[in-house]
Amino acid sequence: MVHFTAEEKAAITGLWGKVNVEEAGGEALGRLLVVYPWTQRFFDSFGNLSSASAIMGNPKVKAHGKKVLTSFGEAIKNLDNLKGAFAKLSELHCDKLHVDPENFRLLGNVIVIILATHFSREFTPDVQAAWQKLVSGVATALAHKYH
């Protein structure tokens, strides 16, 4: 079970308060699909994913990205119990969506990079460390119910 120090929690919640979840969500999912094109395998129904600009502008990508990052926001309210917070979603990703948990790690890393573009100097090594710990914890929690 991952444990966050007070400083790590502060680094996480402090930044999260300033994030535009809708924009960042679309950005994160879009970048995942562009940088790691094989991840497009889950989104056949999303329409035009033929180029970077098509992906980044795709309304379904934006909507789904927002959904994913909003759920991430829920994690931040439950830092002491990520496994519990993501139990249902874990079952969903295994039983219905059949998503390789490696994809959670890839998306987590993309989220960190986006935060770095937004927060620049403020995204210090210590802040990055707290966030990498969070995205890793979320990925593990989402994989926890796989069978």
Partner: protein, 141 residues
């Protein structure tokens, strides 16, 4: 392997790093050691708490190697051969560590370039650095 567009993105970003390899390299190492402390096992020659000078020196060496790779991107195997030998025979860095360096590298670029670190930039650099890692670990066995 890399398209003309991807090479252009790589060259464009490198233009910003060239001449500042030490600073970028030091930041890369600082992030690597803070975020992924287990990577420090490969840098024991820098001591338990590497100081700024050591980070700048070693960071510069690493980024200079990246600069060489940028210049000879069509011939990575040949130009990185001595470094590939070093990693296979002497350093023997477990291959799972390279994605950690790549992630920190991307964060360094992202925090400096901000909006200019577009999705196309990220895609090009991720592909390029991954290609470098493949070459550096190719002679492992």
């Amino acid at each position: 392997m890399l398209s003309a567009q991807e090479r252009a993105h790589i060259a464009q970003v490198w233009d910003l790093i060239a001449g500042h390899e030490a600073l970028f390299g030091a930041e890369l190492l600082r992030r690597l050691f803070t975020v992924y402390p287990s990577t420090k096992v490969y840098f024991r020659h820098l001591g338990d708490q590497p100081d700024e000078v050591q980070l700048l020196n070693h960071g510069q060496r690493m980024l200079q190697a990246v600069g060489v790779a940028v210049q000879y991107v069509d011939n990575l195997r040949a130009v990185l051969s001595p470094l590939a030998d070093l990693h296979a025979q002497v350093l023997r860095v477990d291959p799972t560590n390279f994605p950690l360096v790549i992630q920190c590298f991307q964060v360094v670029l992202a925090s400096h370039l901000q909006d200019e670190f577009t999705v196309e930039m990220q895609a090009s650099w991720d592909k390029f650095l991954t290609g470098m890692a493949v070459v550096l670990t190719e002679k492992y066995r």
